[in-house]
């Protein structure tokens, strides 16, 4: 809310909340604790007039209106009183053009908060614009928690589920799989109440809908009793980690790894349920590693062998780091350095092989420095879920906002596709209906439901029309 108005000299973004601990390890190792960060060059919004841009600044729009409805009734009134395209946004954390429209861009900010909990059914109902971090804190106050969280918690629950947002954990599905009920304001202004017990097909369509069915007003989720996690982080040569990764994913509730480009090293991060009382928050300064990796890139980027040598010389593979606290305090982090990202999800059996090829592709670009993320997600049955019908591994590549990122898409997409990958709906990709319909067996079923909800196509912008219809 308030300004981070001093250039952040000691803190920079880490690829995920859990990976935020990498900074501590590298800092202890000696070389990587003295970086001078560079402020983001992301584009600033217009000083006046109606303008919208996403978090990274890549997607921009000049909408006809920017309403901020504060109730379901106001959502209905909005639907009934406006004409033309209408798109909702939560936090603007999608890098694809899911939101931009010349029509209305609807903020969910005022539709926020926990509405009720049912400790018999172990469910919680919340307004659609509730941010994940706020939701986690509100649930915690009730002795409850979500089963898993993604690595960023400013997303709204509606935005997160609608784009197939996920955390990591071989036995843990993406957030939308824990949705048991939805209230949706349809483009006609009516409220539709869905529950998985009685609306199986509609729920399969609505769990991940890209905001194409209407405006979600409320979400009911399965919840667990609150729990603590124990985080462990360790650095190893990437070949060693890649051999162990499938086993580690089976051993830990949450497992993920990050390859640090041009270092030969990866960081493994595990989280398991912890019942001890000696709690410890993640260490301060943990998120400095990105600035350090960027500095190595800036100074030695033209000399990949020297960059590799310098990194290997100063990374101490024997270092580990730990934290023990509430799940939501460990699984997520704030990202102070803006970036653009592409992420695909490949069948788990092909995950490691695909990652090896992605690493090779990224390391053909000396400008790369962001860690490459590798995570595990359990399959589910939502029709447009990237994890539909199959456990998958996600592989994500990033570039700092303001830096070239085309190569993330062009060089990596053929590799992902060769491994039967599906793109993350909110991360950069160039797939259209022709490709996507071959990836999703219930594609036509989803289109039929969408047509039923929104025959006039008011919830579709140019990007959605390309995704859903254009060859």
């Amino acid at each position: 809310m308030t300004p981070s108005d001093t250039p952040l000299p000691r803190r920079q973004f880490i690829a995920t909340g859990a990976a935020a601990t990498l900074g501590g390890l590298l800092a202890q190792a000696g070389l990587l604790d003295t970086a001078q960060a560079q402020p983001s060059t992301a584009q600033q919004p217009a000083a006046s007039g109606l303008a919208w841009h996403n978090w990274s600044g890549l997607q921009q729009a000049r909408p006809s209106s920017l309403p901020t409805p504060g109730s379901e009734a106001e959502l209905q009134a909005l639907m009934r009183s406006t004409r033309g395209e209408l798109r909702a946004y939560g936090s603007g954390h999608s890098f694809t053009a899911l939101v931009p429209t010349s029509g209305a861009i609807v903020s969910l900010d005022r539709l926020s908060g926990l509405i009720s909990v049912d400790k018999q059914a172990m469910t919680a109902t919340m307004h659609a614009g509730t941010r994940l971090g706020m939701l986690a804190r509100a649930l915690d106050a009730q002795g409850l928690a979500l089963r898993n969280l993604p690595d960023v918690d400013v997303q709204t629950i509606a935005g997160a589920i609608s784009t197939g947002t996920h955390g990591t954990g071989a036995t843990l599905p993406a957030l939308h799989a824990d949705v048991v009920g939805l209230r949706i304001v349809t483009p006609s202004g009516n409220v539709l109440t869905l529950h998985e017990d009685k609306d199986r097909d509609l729920m399969a369509a609505a769990r991940v809908s890209l905001g194409s069915l209407g405006l979600i007003s409320q979400v009911t989720m399965r919840v667990l009793p609150t729990y603590n996690l124990h985080r462990k982080v360790w650095l190893r040569p990437i070949d060693e980690l890649l051999k162990q990764a499938p086993m580690l994913a089976d051993q830990h509730r949450h497992f993920e790894l990050y390859y640090l480009p041009f270092t030969g090293y990866g960081a493994a991060i595990s989280h398991d349920v912890y019942t001890g009382t000696d709690l410890l928050l993640p260490k301060p300064g943990d998120d400095e590693v990105m600035a350090d990796l960027r500095l190595l890139r800036d100074w030695l980027g033209h000399f990949p062998q020297l960059r590799l040598w310098a990194a290997r010389k100063f990374i101490d593979g024997s270092q580990t780091e730990e934290a023990r606290h509430r799940a939501h305090r460990l699984l997520t982090s704030v990202r102070p350095m803006k970036f653009n990202e592409s992420e695909w999800h490949v069948p788990r059996a092909q995950g490691v092989a695909c990652l090896r090829q992605i690493i090779a592709a990224i390391e053909r670009h000396n400008e790369a420095f962001f860690p490459i993320e590798f995570r595990f997600i359990k399959g589910d049955d939502a029709w447009l879920s990237p994890f539909h019908g199959q456990d998958r591994c996600s592989i994500a590549v990033h570039a700092a906002a303001g830096e070239a990122h085309d190569y993330l898409i062009k060089d990596c997409a053929p590799i992902y596709r060769a491994h039967q990958g599906r793109p993350h709906w909110g991360k950069l990709h160039q797939m259209g209906a022709a490709e996507l319909q071959t990836m999703y067996p219930r594609w036509q079923d989803f289109l039929a439901v969408r047509q039923q909800f929104d025959p006039q196509g008011r919830m579709l912008n140019a990007h959605l029309r390309q995704l859903l219809f254009k060859a």
């Binding site: 809310m1 308030t2 952040l8 998120d287």
Partner: protein, 122 residues
Amino acid sequence: MTRIKHFWQIVAGVVMACLSACQDAPPREPTDQEVLRAEALRPASPDLAAKYERACLACHGVRSAAPLTGFAPAWAPRLAKGADVLLTHARDGFNGMPAKGLCSDCTDDDLRGLTQFMSQSP
């Protein structure tokens, strides 16, 4: 071979020297207790408290690169820039902070009030 190795050692030494030179003195980091205290702080005004809780708290109430609520060492260099600069950064976004700080319905007065709340010691 020896010459190459020697060259790399020199380069590494230069890198280390420059890294050291670039190091600035960071402000004191908040303790776990200060972070957990910040998570519990709220503005006195119910309206501002609601906006704070659904927006600002996400970054300023946890350990992150954003200045921590109620933690004076992090706010001192920001406050030195003046209230107008802080308002501009809050409204337009700055570094990792999104424009209006995730509060699309916040007015300039809200942003001023929230900044004042977060930057004051409890």
